[in-house]
């Protein structure tokens, strides 16, 4: 996965993501593609959750999956999550759950609860940072005011780090793939460097949903695992998604 929150020089916030999934879950030799990724693409849908006929939040989902990986609470905040690998991973959380220790939350149900019930960027950030989880994760959150964009690096029990947009430091965007931002990514899976190169080449002046789609369309940020791209603009309450393909030659991940 790759998630980006960026602020242009007029203070507009844009949030984009590629949802990559299906690694090592069966390779289709004839079509040179991952089996599960290809099976997930037809299931991609956009959902508009309404109460009293008013939109509460919108999301991009796989049909049949009731948790949230990508969503927007119009005019308030945008949220995506990326997988975080850790030895203290989800299987330990599941084991504790089975043994009756049930104070942790399933990741995608926390994001669903935040999208449905949080009323501000700050409230969403607090809940994503402090709620116990069954599995580690990265939460990438965008708000509706200047500077409101962050990556929350979570272990199952703690919030390990929070990297926020800081215009004074020249950090006009935050970009997360699947590795802690203070460490080098796996040398065989560095989507961060090409992603940041393209964001820097785009510049803060020119960042928009359009140019963010360009960044998310550049290999290896776009790869064989990419099922969809979602673009969100909180001030417009806008969410749009596109099912992706990565024609050969293309990185398997």
């Amino acid at each position: 996965c790759t998630s980006i929150v960026a602020e242009d020089n007029k203070g507009n916030l844009f949030h984009g993501r590629n949802l990559d999934f299906g690694l090592f879950m069966g390779w289709d030799v004839k079509n040179k593609s991952w089996i599960i990724s290809e099976k997930l693409k037809p299931l991609v849908v956009n959902l508009d959750f309404k109460r009293n006929n008013q939109t509460v939040f919108k999301s991009t989902n796989f049909a049949g999956y009731v948790g949230m990986l990508t969503g927007i609470k119009p005019h308030i905040f945008t949220l995506t999550m990326n997988e975080r690998f850790s030895l203290d991973g989800g299987y330990i959380g599941i084991l504790e759950w089975i043994l009756g220790k049930r104070d942790g939350m399933w990741m995608s149900f926390l994001t669903r609860s935040v999208l449905e019930n949080a009323h501000s960027y700050e409230e969403a950030k607090t809940r994503l940072a402090q709620t116990k989880l069954l599995a580690p994760a990265y939460f990438i959150l965008g708000g509706n005011q200047t500077g409101q964009g962050c990556i929350i690096t979570r272990s199952r029990l703690l919030s390990i780090d929070m990297l926020e947009i800081d215009l004074k430091l020249g950090r006009w965007y935050v970009l997360e793939t699947n590795y802690d931002h203070w460490e080098e990514p796996l040398f065989l899976d560095d989507r961060r460097t090409p992603g940041m190169k393209c964001m820097n080449q785009t510049t803060q002046k020119n960042i928009s949903l359009k140019t963010m789609y360009d960044v998310l369309s550049t290999k290896p940020v776009l790869n064989k695992l990419t099922t969809y791209t979602t673009l969100m603009q909180v001030s417009e309450g806008k969410l749009e998604s596109y099912i992706r393909d990565c024609p050969n030659p293309c990185m398997p991940w």
């Binding site: 849908v45 309404k50 049949g64 299987y91 959380g93 560095d190 789609y213 369309s217 290999k219």
Partner: protein
Amino acid sequence: STQFIPPYTEDCRTEMYPPNGPTFRGAVSWYTVDLDLPPSKRWTALITDKKTDLVNMIQAIKDLAYAFVPSGRLIELVDITLVSVIFPLTFSLNLYYIFLIPFCNLGEVVLFNIFYEVFTV
């Protein structure tokens, strides 16, 4: 590393939007989920449209499970024990109603919904 050698990397793309060409498979359709409705009705329209694709995806995961555990024990574990052991009641109610549209086992739908945690295994 190979990642930085063309064709596995490339110059930053431009003019890709509006989405078109070989990297754009298609647009995504919209559905409304009415939270005022009981769970039994919230997802029906969506799942009715997508049930064939959902069955195909779950079958692909089952094929993978059979490849690892040909005896079928893994599938049995998912179909029979997973639901009672794993799920909090509120969300299982949501899922339960998806299950009522009978075309795949509740355990498999549960597995699909907790796959993020399971995948780390």
